[in-house]
């Protein structure tokens, strides 16, 4: 995941801007304060706050550990831990194998500095194993199915770890609107709890970004929001005024910014602080 860097007059503002850009909830982001504004004379601040942020890496591709449907090639059957480089099929296999290099054994420590050049980060990443895809899927779907039973609803629950490392949980059935709630609040709450349940089971292991959806409502809503944004942005352009949207979550603001970015003559900014941060569209 890429780091993005932002400057603003305060650390909080810089964080807000970074969240807008990344389009994730703050719990899914990682921050580093690079520079804080210094306190100047008479309580004024001088200089800027610089923050860098990225979406929390939730697993460096569990490729080797998971028998994936690959297009073409029968290379490397079910994921035994150590994958030998027998296949001649080429790069993808090669690099997968390279990532799976065994940890340098302790014996080669020799003398001198323990920390050899730049290996630090790499080895730390290797230490953190990944929860098997099947196990992630089972934990998430069992939890959500159990919830359906407790609530007394007939539902179908499926969970899949996607290529993008999203752990997607889909709920379908009658009366599932109960799981959505006004403004997706119930669904977002359920997603948050599901994430923690998976996290608890994962322990130190990496796991996918949990997305819980009901009858495809997230995509439906996304499409509707984008359509509404286009109409509003066009009005801002036509009337030559700026128009504020209502406060939205960071993922929703990202949809708004991205939609406006594709419209000629309109531009967007965010104003205010969570949870009242909102996007404003104005003529460019």
């Amino acid at each position: 995941m890429e780091w993005v860097e932002f400057s603003a007059s305060s650390v909080a503002e810089a964080r807000e801007r970074a969240l807008d850009e990344l389009g994730v909830d703050e719990t899914d982001a990682e921050f580093e304060v690079l520079e804080e504004p210094r306190a100047g004379l008479f309580g004024r601040t001088r200089g800027v706050a610089r923050v860098r942020a990225r979406v929390l890496p939730r697993a460096p591709r569990p490729k080797q550990e998971r028998p994936r449907k690959r297009s073409g090639g029968s290379g490397g059957g079910s994921g035994g831990r150590k994958r030998t480089r027998t296949s001649t099929s080429g790069e993808s296999t090669e690099s997968a194998a390279a990532e799976e290099q065994p940890e340098p054994s302790n014996s080669n420590g020799g003398g001198g500095g323990q920390r050899s050049q730049g290996r630090d980060q790499g080895s730390r990443r290797q230490e953190r194993s990944t929860m098997e895809a099947a196990e992630q899927e089972a934990v998430a779907s069992e939890f959500v199915s159990g919830l359906s039973r407790a609530i007394g609803l007939e539902t179908t629950v499926s969970a899949e770890l996607t290529e993008d490392n999203d752990l997607r949980v889909e709920i379908d059935g009658s009366e599932v609107g109960l799981f959505i709630g006004p403004g997706l609040r119930t669904l977002d709450a359920l997603q948050e709890i599901t994430r923690h349940v998976v996290q608890r089971e994962a322990g130190d292991r990496e796991y996918g970004r949990v997305v819980v959806d009901v009858a495809g409502v997230r995509e439906t809503r996304r499409t509707a929001l984008a359509a509404f944004v286009r109409t509003t942005a066009q009005r801002a352009v036509d009337e030559g005024t700026s128009i504020p949207f209502e406060p939205m979550s960071s993922p929703d603001r990202k949809i708004v910014h991205d939609t406006i970015a594709e419209i000629d003559g309109a531009e967007s900014t965010s104003q205010g602080e969570e949870p009242n941060r909102r996007v404003v569209v104005r003529p460019a």
């Binding site: 919830l147 407790a150 359920l190 709890i193 923690h196 608890r200």
Partner: protein, 88 residues
């Protein structure tokens, strides 16, 4: 949706609250939900083993809020409004 009031009280809400809590804590056997009847608005008291409360409350109360939201949605199945308290 079921708008009739469940004559047995907030049974769905209780079952959901128990399920959520048990799925989050280290000691599922230590989870207990008590229903205190108010006038038309029952209160659900959640008890967990000492040391597990942090998982239930979460960072800045986020998990507690999420648990409340989902449990209240379940209470709608019982035709009831409920309050949820986390008892230390």
């Amino acid at each position: 949706m079921n708008d009739d009031v469940n004559p047995d009280g907030p049974t769905h809400a209780v079952a959901v609250l128990e399920h959520l809590a048990r799925s989050l804590v280290d000691d599922p056997d230590g989870v207990r939900v008590e229903v205190v009847d108010g006038s038309g608005r029952p209160q659900l008291n959640l008890y967990v083993t000492e040391g597990d409360m942090g998982r239930i409350i979460g960072k800045r109360g986020r998990m507690a809020n999420a648990i409340r939201t989902v449990t209240r949605a379940a209470a709608a199945r019982d035709g009831l409004d409920v309050d949820i308290e986390f008892i230390d």
